[in-house]
Symmetry: C2
Subunit: 465 residues, 2 copies
Amino acid sequence: MTIEFNNTAPLYKQLYDFIKNEIKKGNMKVGDKLPSKRNLSAHLSISQNTIETAYQQLAAEGYVKSVPKSGFYVCEIEEFSAPIEIKPKRSPENIQEPKPKQYRYDFRTNTVDTAFFPFSTWVKISKEIMHDENRELLKTTHPQGDYHLRESISKYLHHYRGVNCLPEQIIIGAGTEYLLGLITQLLGRNRVYAIENPGYPKTYKILKSHNANIKFIRLDEDGLKIDDLARSNANVVYITPSHHFPLGIIMPISRRMQLLKWAHQSADRFIIEDDYDSEFRFNGRPIPALQGLDVNEKVIYISTFSKSIAPSIRISYMVLPMPMLQRFSDEYSFYSSTVSRFEQYTLFRFIQGGHFERHLNRMRNVYRSRKDALIEEIKKLSFGEKIEIIGENAGLHLMLRVHGRLTENDLITRAEKVGIKLYGLSEYYLAPFENMPNNVVVIGYSNYNKSEIAKAIHLLNKVWT
Amino acid sequence: MTIEFNNTAPLYKQLYDFIKNEIKKGNMKVGDKLPSKRNLSAHLSISQNTIETAYQQLAAEGYVKSVPKSGFYVCEIEEFSAPIEIKPKRSPENIQEPKPKQYRYDFRTNTVDTAFFPFSTWVKISKEIMHDENRELLKTTHPQGDYHLRESISKYLHHYRGVNCLPEQIIIGAGTEYLLGLITQLLGRNRVYAIENPGYPKTYKILKSHNANIKFIRLDEDGLKIDDLARSNANVVYITPSHHFPLGIIMPISRRMQLLKWAHQSADRFIIEDDYDSEFRFNGRPIPALQGLDVNEKVIYISTFSKSIAPSIRISYMVLPMPMLQRFSDEYSFYSSTVSRFEQYTLFRFIQGGHFERHLNRMRNVYRSRKDALIEEIKKLSFGEKIEIIGENAGLHLMLRVHGRLTENDLITRAEKVGIKLYGLSEYYLAPFENMPNNVVVIGYSNYNKSEIAKAIHLLNKVWT
C-alpha cells in the first residue's frame, strides 16, 4: 500500500479515502484483510492511532468489518461491480433560475410599499426579546402558534374586522398558501371546492396541487352566484367577500346571508373567507367579515400580515370553526408551528404596543393618496373619458375598462413598449366563459408614489391613443 | 327614530349600528325609506355629514341602497327572517388546549439544549441586517429561498455531509414537515410510499394526511430490508440512513448501494433521505450522506436546523434531484418561500461567519459528554449488567434494552413514579409485527446536563430493581 500524503486533509482521512477508493475500484476484494496496524504504521510512518481511526471509520460505514483478535476484512458490496449509469454532472448552466423581466413600472398586485415599514421599532422589539431571560423562546411553541400573538390577533379581529373568535381558535402559519394546504388536509378527501371565476389563480393552483376536485363559479354584480354554487355539488367554497380579487366587488349583506344559508343546509358545507387586504378600505370603516355573521360554525376565516406589514414576513393566520378545531386538535396538532417563535413574539409586541395600528393608519393614508393620484392622472389622459374605473373603494388594486377599439392584449403590449407592466383581467379567469370582457386591465398601485404614478400614467397617453 | 347616543363610539357608528339592528330585527322592512339627512339631522341634533357617513357605510355593506335624487331604501335580505339555528356561544372552557404533563426529567427525543445558543451573536447579526439599506429584505424572496443562504448550505453540505449539490437544487422551507408535504405534491398522485417500521411517527402522519398509500418495511441489523421493499410495490422510500430513528442503525455501504440499485431499476422510484441529526456523531467523522453516492438523481435529501440551532427557528431544507427540480420550477414555484427573509439572511450570516461550525463543535462536545455520563451512570446501577445500550454512536438519543422480568410498560410506569418520562420503543412501531422487543426504552438525553442525568438515572435504582 503506497500513499502519497499531502497537507490538505488529516492523515487518517487520506488513508480512509485511499482504502475506500481501492475497494470501490475493485483493487481490494471481498474478504481481503487490511494490513495490520503495526505493519502499516511502520510502512507508512504514521501512528497506529491514525490507522485505527481510519479503520474504524471504514467499519462504521460498512466498507470493512472488524473480526475480534484477527483484524479488518473487506465487506461484500456487490453493487460496486454492477454497471451504474453515470449522468452528466450538474452545472449551474443547465439549471439556471429564470430572472423575472424588469420594467420601469410594474403594477403587479402582490406587492406593498415597504419604504414605510418601521424598521427601527421592529429592531428595537427584536433586541428587547432576544436576551438570556427569553431563552424559552428557543423552544418549540404551541402547534397553533404563540398564545400571546393569537390573543392580540383575536382582539384586533374583533375590533377591526367584526370577527368573533377566541385565541384558541386561531392557527398561525407561514403564509396563506400553507394554511390553505392545511385546510385541505383538515377537510379531508372527497371534497368538492368551489372557487370564484375570475379569482385568485394561486388558490386554484394550491387546491389542484392537493388533488382537490374544483368547480368554478361565476359572479354577478353582488359576487358569487349562489344558484350556481348550489348546482355545483361543491361542499366547500373559497371567497373574498370584503374585496373580491380581482373585481373589487364588496359582497352585500343579502348575498352574505344567502351564502351562510347555503352552508347551513348541510353539515359538511364550509366557507373559506379570505380577507387578504381588507385593512385597506378608504371610505368609511372596513366591511365587517362574513365570519362575524356566522352563528353556525361554518366559516373558516383566513388573513395575512403580508399586505399589512411586509411580504417577506411570512405570518398568516386562520380562525377555525369549532368542529374543525376539534379535528385539528385531535389529529393534526402533531404539526409544529411553521413560524419562527422570535418573529411571532416580535409581532405580538408590535401589535400590543400599538405600532401595528399606527402603521395601518399611516399606510391607509399613503395608499389612499396614491389611489386618488392614480384616478386623477387617468382622468387627465386625453382619452380619459373612455376609461371606466372599477373596484376602487377598497384594496390595493383597481381595474380600468378601456372603451374603444383597443383589446386587453393591445393595452398591455402597448404599455410594455413604454416600460409599463399591466395585467389583463383574463389572467384571472381560471376557466373561460362566454362574455368575458376583453378590454380590462388590473393595476396594483401600492408600490409607487404619486409622482411615479403620474409619470407612468402619462406615458400611456402616447401608446393608448 | 330615537337613539340614545353615548360616548363609547363615534356618532356615525352608533347611528349605523342602530339602523342595521332595526333592519335585522325587521323593524325596518324592505323598501322602507330612511329619513332624509336634513330631517334626521334636525331630529337627532347631529350633522348631516355624520348621517351621510352612516348611510354610505350601510349602502357599502348592502343593507340599504341609494336611489339618486330620492334617498336611501332598505334592501331585501330575506334570510334575516328565516330561522337560523343559534349554537351556544364559544367559551374558553369548552375549547381548552390540553396542557402537556410535566415531569422532573423528560427524556424525549424531539428537543435540544438551547442554553448554549449564541444569542448575542444572533442578535448582533440581526441588528446588522435590519437597517434602512436592507429594505430589500422586506420584499419577497425567491420561492426556493434566499440564494445566499442556499449557497452557504450547499457548501456546508458538500464539506460536512458529502452531499453533492448546487444552490439551485436547494429549497428552504418552514420545517421538515412542510417540506415532506411539498414532496408529496411534487411526486404527485398514485405514489406508494415505503417507510421504516419502527420509524418516525410524524412521517407516517404527514404522509397519511396527504392521502398517501403507505407500506411499512421491516429492518434487520443493517437497516431497511431491500427484499421487503422490492416486494412492497412502493416507488418512494423514506429512510434515515445515517442514524435510524429510533434504532440508531447506521446503514452500511453495501445496503446503501442496494437501495440505490433498487431506485435505479425504475424511472419513477425515489429515495427520501432524512438526515435529521447527522451532525451529532461522536466517534470519527459523520457518516457521508446517501445522496453523495447517488449518480442517478434518485435521492431527495432533507435536513433541518431545528436540532443544530433551535427547534423554534423553523428552517429546514431539501436538495432536489434534477427531474424533480424541473417539475418544481415549472409547476410549484408559485409557492412563496415559507421562511421569513430576515431569518434566512441572519442564518446565512451566521453560517458565513463561522458561527454555525463553532456552535456545532461546541454542541458535539456537550452532547458527547452527556452521552458518556448517561452510559456511565447506567453501568453504575445495581442491575447495570442487565442493561444493554443500543445505538449510542450517533444522534441525540439511545436505547436501553433491560433484560429481566420487567416489560417496557413496567419500565415506563415505574420511572414515572419517580418523575421520569421515558418512551417505549413500541411507540415507534407504526404497525405491529411479530417478535417486537418488549423491554426497550428510548432516551433522548440532549436536554439534561451531567449532574441532572446522574440524579435522574440514580432514581431508577429504586424502581427498576
